[in-house]
């Protein structure tokens, strides 16, 4: 790259991002090779496939994949492409299958990915080796506490090492489950945003925008009887929160909760009849984790970005969000709700109801985020006149950075810049 996209000068208190990084098609092409093909990328959740033969299909890093359980009930990821002519083999969204048959010429694969049927196989010469033509797999597949990642980079470091400090924050999410396992709840929110994917990274853990972009949500909370405190001195937000870098481009905002949590802080919106259930959940947390850890799990909201494109927000509810760029100004977003495996029907209903007040394409907040990102993308067309976005909030501070500062955004961009510059 000849263009410098990130200026990072801690001594000069200067940090800027070049807006061409959001509009240039060549940048996206480089990102696909240097970032998406080299990092660990979120592929799905183990709970999406529970029994041998269960599968879901989706597109990751531009490749169609199958996430499935094989005959030994191990989680597998296959590239969902026929080895013969390259057609997509499994075209259903999800299901349970003995195997997968490509409809084009009828090649079939078993649930372990082996090629087990080739019509008219005798016409192939002796060089044809059926055993070498099973469904292809990414070079690396691994999971951490139910979150399944793949890497298309043969030289990828181990997942646990890659996740670095993000593990602590995934642990905080999973620790809310009495069974030690979280599960994906059925119902998927899939929508397109006409904006560059990195704008959603920023937005997903940018608390500086909350008070202005989400004023109507805050008003609704207030009207419903939720106490929204006045921001403490030196703060923009109603409660204290910090931004933290977690290594390898991962970062988080970690906030004292003021907005209610299904695990486990009751607010009037949940209704009086939900109070005993929330109290029961809290008591279980305390008895299992101890008072201090229970408070950490139940009384903080955390928005986590796992570099480059996984967001786990544990706030009004838990949402997993991932997004695939399809053009410099377009991304496809998928969002799910995550809940403790084995949680009571009442708790599950509270969790889902709480989710919808804030999150999703029909929520009281997310549509305004989408509008903001699309508005920014429109503005990026003037990058020649206004090439730089300043990202210096909190830069002169020693020590703790607020959730409304921009340390965590800078962390993402520093890693992005590093990978885009590395020889690859």
């Amino acid at each position: 790259m000849s263009q410098q996209y990130v200026v990072n000068d801690p001594k000069g208190l200067d940090f800027r991002v070049h807006r061409a990084a959001m509009v240039d098609a060549r940048v996206l092409e480089e990102e696909m090779r240097r970032i998406f093909d080299r990092c660990w990328i979120y592929a799905g959740h183990e709970s999406e496939v529970r029994a041998p033969g269960d599968f879901v299909t989706r597109t990751i890093c531009g490749r169609p994949i199958i996430l499935s359980r094989d005959s030994a009930n191990a989680v597998r990821v296959f590239i969902n492409v026929c080895r013969h002519r390259g057609a997509v083999v499994c075209r259903e969204r999800s299901g349970n299958a003995r195997g997968y048959t490509c409809f084009y010429h009828g090649w079939s694969y078993d649930r372990d990915g082996n090629l087990d049927g080739v019509p008219g196989e005798s016409s192939y010469p002796t060089t044809f080796m059926r055993k070498d033509l099973g469904l292809a797999q990414p070079p690396h597949v691994d999971s951490y506490r139910g979150f399944v990642f793949v890497s298309f980079n043969p030289d990828a470091r181990p997942l646990a090492q890659y996740l670095a400090g993000a593990k602590e924050y995934l642990d905080l999410v999973v620790d809310q489950s009495p069974t030690g396992e979280m599960e994906l709840i059925q119902g998927t929110q899939e929508y397109t945003i006409r904006a560059n994917w990195k704008l959603l990274v920023e937005n997903s853990f940018d608390d500086y925008h909350l008070m202005s972009t989400h004023k109507t949500w805050l008003d609704y909370m207030k009207k419903s009887g939720v106490a929204i405190p006045k921001p403490p001195k030196g703060h923009v937000m109603p409660a204290h929160g910090v931004g933290r870098a977690l290594g390898n481009g991962h970062a988080v905002i970690d906030n004292e909760n003021f907005r209610g949590r299904p695990v486990a802080k009751w607010i009037p919106i949940y209704g009086e009849d939900a109070k005993p259930e929330i109290e029961r959940i809290r008591a279980e947390l305390v008895s299992r984790l101890g008072e201090e850890r229970a408070r950490r799990v139940a009384d903080t909201n955390r928005n986590l970005v796992v570099f480059p494109n996984l967001v786990v927000n544990d706030g009004s509810s838990v949402t997993i969000r991932t997004f695939q760029p399809t053009a410099p100004d377009r991304m496809e977003v998928t969002a799910w709700a995550l809940g403790p495996k084995g949680e009571s029907p009442k708790a599950r209903a509270i969790r889902l109801d709480s989710f919808l007040t804030f999150y999703g394409p029909g929520g009281f907040a997310t549509p305004d985020d989408v509008e903001a990102l699309e508005s920014v993308q429109q503005g990026m067309a003037s990058w020649r006149e206004i090439p730089w976005s300043v990202m210096t909030r909190g830069m002169s501070k020693e020590g703790e950075q607020l959730n409304t500062d921009e340390l965590h955004l800078r962390e993402f961009w520093i890693e992005w810049d590093k990978l885009m510059r590395d020889g690859a």
């Binding site: 969204r93 709840i185 059925q186 119902g187 998927t188 929110q189 899939e190 929508y191 397109t192 945003i193 006409r194 972009t213 004023k215 109507t216 949500w217 008003d219 609704y220 009207k223 419903s224 496809e332 799910w336 709700a337 029907p345 599950r348 209903a349 889902l352 109801d353 989710f355 919808l356 007040t357 999703g360 394409p361 029909g362 009281f364 997310t366 549509p367 305004d368 989408v370 509008e371 903001a372 429109q378």
Partner: protein
């Protein structure tokens, strides 16, 4: 007048109110326990108690939604989208009491199915068509039809380029 004609008149009136953003008048068409739902595209027959929806409002959140949409700080709908609703294939039947559970069991409930195409137009060439079907439960309150439940079930495989359901679909 046939039940279907009466229901069609009611739905066409509701559509006009929504297209004209006369949201307080629309609210007045709802019962005190009304529900408004848009299921996720991949789980059109789900139950919001155990399935993630796009929208699953009780009357409190419907009122909150209207308050929000009237506020210029509802950025996704300010300026308001222009919408135009085409509603067809209306089928209506009086429900037989005792054969259904929950709110459907209220005597005099009318079950309605209809198809819709809702056009949404915003500046910048952002035009989209929401296609699907409506499911309504209507009740007579003081002789007038009122909405106890309205569900908009989208046909598209994913919300995709439609982006959001930030207006009342």
């Amino acid at each position: 007048m046939s039940l279907r004609s009466e229901v069609e008149d009611f739905l066409f009136h509701e559509a006009a109110l929504l297209d004209e953003w006369r949201l307080d008048e629309w609210l007045a068409l709802l019962t005190e326990d009304a529900k408004y739902r848009v299921p996720s595209n991949d789980a059109p027959a789900g139950d919001p108690a155990d399935t993630l929806f796009l929208i699953a409002d009780d009357i409190q959140r419907i009122r909150g939604r209207v308050a929000r949409l009237k506020d210029p700080h509802a950025h996704a709908e300010f300026p308001h989208s222009r919408t135009r609703r085409l509603i067809t294939n209306v089928r209506a039947e009086e429900m037989v009491p005792g054969t259904f559970s929950g709110s459907e069991n209220v005597p005099g409930t009318i079950s309605v199915h209809a198809n819709f195409a809702v056009y949404r137009m915003r500046r910048g060439g952002n035009e989209s068509v929401y296609v699907g079907r409506y499911r309504y439960l209507l009740r007579r309150v003081g002789g007038e039809l009122r909405i106890a439940m309205r569900e908009a079930i989208l046909d598209s495989e994913e919300l995709g380029r439609l982006g959001a359901v930030s207006f009342i679909l």
